[in-house]
Amino acid sequence: EPEVTQTPSHQVTQMGQEVILRCVPISNHLYFYWYRQILGQKVEFLVSFYNNEISEKSEIFDDQFSVERPDGSNFTLKIRSTKLEDSAMYFCASSGRAATEAFFGQGTRLTVV
């Protein structure tokens, strides 16, 4: 069964460092997303990406964040100059169309120390 895969599963980084979280969406999907979940809280939308550009982003997704689809299979989230409050579980998701079922990866747990 096709699935969304994320790497790494865990990452620890020093405050101020840059991190890149990687995702391989389901191969025939066209819409890609990043969400985050701070420990004990609900899942929050960060950004959606379609046709090689951002289609929507939340207030959380400021200049510190960027997304890229560097090739036909990967989708990345870059966080520049990480802060302690960036510590969270980051989920990648994909869907075939905007209003169809979204499938989530297993998440990357980011810890900023």
Binding site: K42, R97, A98, A99, E101, A102
Partner: protein
Amino acid sequence: GIQVEQSPPDLILQEGANSTLRCNFSDSVNNLQWFHQNPWGQLINLFYIPSGTKQNGRLSATTVATERYSLLYISSSQTTDSGVYFCAVARGFSNTGKLIFGQGTTLQVKP
């Protein structure tokens, strides 16, 4: 923006009991999904159900879009059903697929 409210926030059951989880939303939606977050943090798709009723084994879900709510039924609960259940919606006319999540219902099934 659209509001998503789930109830109850916490639920403790004995193994074998049945339960109903509720999700209310404040606007029309073109997508509604139920997820189970397991102890490892993974979000497992349960149902894609913007309207109607679906069943999958011991789980079933009903969405009444005109009345802006969805229900998730768990029958004959097992300890492996423990975890957090999230409802998430995409607002009607959304062309980005952005999902708004509720706060979740934390379910604990005791043996």
